[in-house]
Symmetry: C2
Subunit: 242 residues, 2 copies
């Protein structure tokens, strides 16, 4: 699959994620940022070729490639639940229950990395996957964070609970997010853009977390809600560790 | 201009915003929600006609109209700064300095209404305007909130400061958002998706507000950042008024 964009390439290189090939623009007028990237890829001995901008556009079906496309192999490298065994602090985890919009997924990843989340879990079915768009919208931050794909979310939640992780589903009429103590092992479940968290997933959770709202608004954009809750968790953890 | 979607029509009706005409689908298989909306529009004596789904799609260039398109007249009804004179509490205001993405603008509007913001201010030039997409992404919440368009943001900031409103630009290396007292009259300036808040706009502000981040992330999606800061303000105000 292809990833694209300059910051994305930088993050892939930083993460030492495996690269099959890089496609750069063959345009003569390139700036110093792009020159540096070409030099670095060259020095690292990574296979790369130069193509017309039109060819680049065809590869990723967008004009937003910034002269850089990265072939990262057949599929994105998903992690499994065992990665949590190496976490040496109280884990902070996000479950996305059937999110459908790649922009929301990408924005959640960016917020998750910035707030110290240890992993994002998505279900195998009826969920957006990691695509070129998701990677771009995450600003390449996805390469800093394990993305775990599971068959059965309810079973996964039970496993998390066994690891002493408290699982809260985001919905209306629950505990205000700032009244939860999220310095303990915490997992936040965010639901689909239209339907919210599924009933049986909610049933398996330890509780419901809510964002109190004015003016009869009943929901926010899912990436916004997720960011508000995660940064409350980060704040609590920063203050606790001072 | 056209707005579309069922929740959008509901919010327009609730807000008693002026409607020129409503276009409904002429499909025979319509559900009870749509039937209710047609009945309500009819009872209110609002001009409406029925069209093929293809015609509806042509009007708004999207398939997401849900069988409902609303003609709200030539231009969106922007407010001016005087609307702030009728605010009877410490104002909470958002300035969007040259935001370019309609999805971000729509998501900010939704968060702003839900967090009790009194007005959003945008500059006349180099800014996304209110479009059909913005209205849809706001889930129709835009009709609950004055959107003010101004010629010169720096001058507007000076006027806000004269009204005892504290103006903070969002950027790196400023005061953590949760250390600001936002129970006073507060205005948060959010910058363009790529470039952030312009230098001269920052210079006119009272200070810089930041979201501390882990893992060398230097920014979040602008609607997420804005949501995090606004809901901190709402929390402070809710706690203060208890």
């Amino acid at each position: 699959m292809y990833a694209y964009g300059r910051n994305v390439l930088k993050e892939i290189l930083n993460a030492k994620y495996s690269i099959k090939k890089v496609y750069f623009t063959n345009s003569k007028n390139i700036d110093s940022e792009l020159k540096k990237l070409i030099k670095k890829v060259s020095e690292l001995g990574i296979s790369h070729i130069f193509l017309d901008n039109e060819k680049l556009e065809e590869l990723v079906e967008t004009t937003k490639h910034q002269g850089v496309i990265i072939d990262i192999g057949r599929e994105f490298n998903y992690a499994d639940l065992n990665v949590l065994n190496s976490v040496d602090h109280e884990p902070l985890i996000v479950i996305l229950d059937q999110i459908s919009d790649p922009h929301n997924f990408g924005a959640v990843i960016r917020s998750a990395v910035a707030s110290g989340v240890d992993a994002i879990i998505i279900p195998k079915n009826n969920s957006v996957e990691v695509t070129s768009t998701v990677i771009k919208v995450s600003a390449g931050q996805i390469f800093k964070l394990p993305i775990i794909k599971v068959t059965n979310l309810s079973r996964t939640i039970d496993e998390l609970k066994k690891k002493n992780i408290w699982v809260y589903s985001a919905d209306m009429k629950g505990t205000p997010y700032y009244e939860l103590d999220m310095t303990y092992g915490t997992c936040i479940v965010m639901g689909n853009e239209g339907k919210g968290v599924r009933e049986n997933v909610k049933k398996h959770s330890d509780g419901i977390v809510s964002i109190p709202m004015n003016n009869n608004v009943d929901s926010l954009n899912v990436s916004v809600s997720c960011g508000i809750i995660l940064f409350e968790a980060k704040k609590q953890r920063d203050i606790r560790s001072k």
